[in-house]
């Protein structure tokens, strides 16, 4: 299968020149550290988006980097290094989801500092922001719990497309699939997610709340 050109990616990729890449291949500590710091944010974000809040994030990021370093000799520079590492992260996430043992409990040390000290409602907009952040986080947990019922391939295709805003071509390349298969996975994942949200009491109530909110505001 011909690989699509992913150079038009919207995300800025940290620079990593060939000389440093050689250093990583030779396992020079300074280059290894630079390589890690250049891509750890990207990998964390990708895995967190695909797997959802989990206590195993650290293990998954570590596995991704271990696999990347182990297979670095295979990287031929056809795609950007960031894209190549993201494809490994996608595979690690897929493998993890297929194992079906995602623990949704997030350890305290993984929760950002600002969530430890939630201000009271009387403190104004900042308090509301913090509440919204927590609500968004809870909602994300619930949605990922619901998505646990969708197969790993379909779920990842949908999340890459909707949440990560990748194009069909990029999703297909990251998942090593054809564009037709990717479209099909997204279509079925959408349908399953719609049914699962409708069947979930908590999410259904939230949906109804949003519906009422829009109607009372008079907007479409």
């Amino acid at each position: 299968m011909r690989r699509p050109n992913l150079s038009a990616s919207r995300r800025a990729e940290p620079p990593f020149d060939e000389r440093r890449l050689e250093g990583v291949r030779a396992r020079r500590p300074a280059d290894l550290e630079a390589f890690f710091h250049s891509y750890v944010g990207l990998v964390e974000r990708m895995i967190a988006r695909l797997v959802g809040p989990t206590a195993e994030l650290e293990d998954l990021v570590q596995t991704t980097f271990a696999e990347a370093l182990h297979n670095l000799s295979r990287f031929r520079g056809e795609a950007r290094l960031g894209t190549w590492i993201c494809s490994i992260a996608v595979h690690v996430a897929q493998h993890h989801l297929r194992a079906g043992r995602v623990r949704r409990h997030v350890p305290l040390e993984l929760v950002p500092d600002d969530l430890h000290t939630v201000p009271s409602r009387s403190e104004g907009p900042s308090a509301r922001d913090a509440d919204q952040t927590i609500d968004g986080r809870r909602l994300a947990i619930r949605l990922h719990e619901v998505l646990d019922h969708v197969s790993a391939k379909k779920r990842i295709a949908l999340l890459l497309y909707v949440i990560e805003e990748q194009t069909i071509e990029e999703v297909a390349a990251l998942m090593n699939a054809t564009q037709t298969a990717t479209r099909s996975r997204i279509f079925f994942a959408r349908r399953e997610l719609r049914n699962l949200i409708a069947a979930d009491r908590e999410l259904r109530e939230l949906t109804e709340g949003l519906l009422v909110d829009r109607l009372t505001r008079g907007g479409p």
Binding site: F36, V40, E56, D59, A99, V162, I163, L193, R194, T207
Partner: protein, 400 residues
């Protein structure tokens, strides 16, 4: 009029942030007249809200641990790397063959010299490592890091690890019976495999290992390449009790797992009583070895001192665990209930609530078990054991 199908595609593009103004206007006109599509929009609005939530991030310490581990792994043996192997160049085959021949020769020499080093290790051998090193024990090669403290029990093929990190390579069939690594909170059992154990995690490189709690209940079954991590409870913090700290001058190994410590608790731990921490550690060690009397005595002694709220919950939970190990099920249920009553918001209360439901499911009436599962789910809708609790509740409901 725009079709529902087209509008739903526009809604998806809106969530992605790629819908044009023109298509959104088209959709708005349709949505005024179509309740079905309005519902669909509300569903996608939920996804949009979740999308706006910042994704989970690792803290600097976790990133540092990963980097140390990667550096350590790359510097160590090739066996430690996971995944598919790289294609070997043909010219390396000669060197490989020479290496194998050398290994066979060295192996034969080592065997011909007499007993292995492990045979010279007395039962109950205790290690407090200040330098990294390797031990051969009961058919296993144990590589330890500085700061590791362990005891070897030959009769039971058990390594009791109090702290630190060890990498093990257990040869299948070298000795009869399971090889075990017991920490204060969990036990790892293997027949023959290569794996790593730290204070709070296990990673398997080859074969399969079983992780169980001190009571023998299975926590995880790990295949090659899989990892397991102890759920981070405040009780884990006490593993790093002052009494069990490495000797002065001991340097933490690169890649060694750091104790799970929440920022809020760090300051308080600094002023915590040494005796209480030591008693908690003693109770855990005793529980890991199945000695419920010693564990309970340590807990009772700790409860007679001045404890913080969290320490009280930890000690009471350990005491309840000791009753469970001693098979005093009714007393254990009462003790777990006391933990829940004492501080319902504490993480120990969640563990206790789950234990109550499990005990009632195994030793109580089905109705009581159902009520306990329902109570657990009501109290902890985002808890650590929600999925299992739901499954067990469904099972309980399915029974007549």
């Amino acid at each position: 009029m725009t079709s529902c199908r087209r509008v739903r595609r526009i809604l998806l593009e809106t969530v992605r942030g790629t819908a044009s103004d023109a298509s959104r206007l088209l959709a708005d006109a349709h949505l005024n007249a179509c309740p079905g599509c309005r519902e669909e929009r509300a569903r996608w609005a939920l996804v949009g809200l979740a999308k706006r939530a910042a994704p989970q991030r690792l803290d600097a310490a976790a990133e540092r641990r990963i980097l140390q581990s990667l550096t350590h792994t790359q510097a160590g043996s090739a066996k430690r790397t996971m995944g598919l192997g790289t294609r070997r160049a043909p010219r390396t085959s000669l060197a490989l063959a020479a290496g194998v021949a050398l290994a066979i020769a060295v192996g034969w020499f080592a065997v011909a010299r007499g007993p292995r080093r492990s045979d010279e290790i007395a039962d109950g051998f205790e290690l407090r490592a200040k330098m990294p090193g390797t031990l051969l024990f009961s058919g296993a090669e144990i590589r330890y890091e500085p700061g590791t403290e362990l005891t070897l029990h030959r009769a039971t093929r058990t390594v009791s690890m109090r702290q630190g990190q060890i990498d093990l390579d257990v040869t299948p069939g070298a000795r009869s019976g399971l090889f075990r690594v017991a920490t204060s909170r969990f036990v790892v059992e293997v027949l023959g495999t290569s794996f790593r154990v730290t204070d709070n995690a296990v990673h398997t490189w080859r074969g399969k290992v079983r992780v169980a709690d001190p009571m023998g209940r299975e926590l995880a079954l790990l295949r090659a390449g899989e990892s397991w991590k102890l759920p981070p409870e405040p009780s884990v913090i006490a593993v790093a009790a002052p009494a069990l700290q490495p000797a002065a001058g001991t340097v933490a190994a690169p890649g060694a797992a750091q104790p799970v410590v929440s920022r809020r608790l760090t300051a308080r731990r600094a002023v915590a009583s040494v005796d209480v921490s030591a008693l908690i550690a003693q109770a855990r060690t005793a529980l890991a070895q199945g000695d419920s009397d010693t564990a309970r005595a340590a807990c009772d002694q700790a409860l007679r001192t001045t404890l913080s709220r969290r320490e009280t919950a930890t000690v009471r939970l350990l005491r309840a665990d000791s009753l469970l190990v001693a098979r005093h099920f009714d007393d254990a249920i009462s003790a777990y209930r006391a933990v829940v009553r004492l501080d319902p918001s504490a993480p120990q209360a969640e563990t206790a609530a789950f234990a109550i439901a499990q005990l009632l499911a195994e030793h109580g009436s089905p109705a009581a078990a159902r009520a306990a599962w329902e109570e657990y789910l009501a109290r902890h809708p985002y808890g650590r054991f929600v999925r299992e609790a739901r499954e067990r509740l469904d099972e309980a409901r399915a029974r007549p």
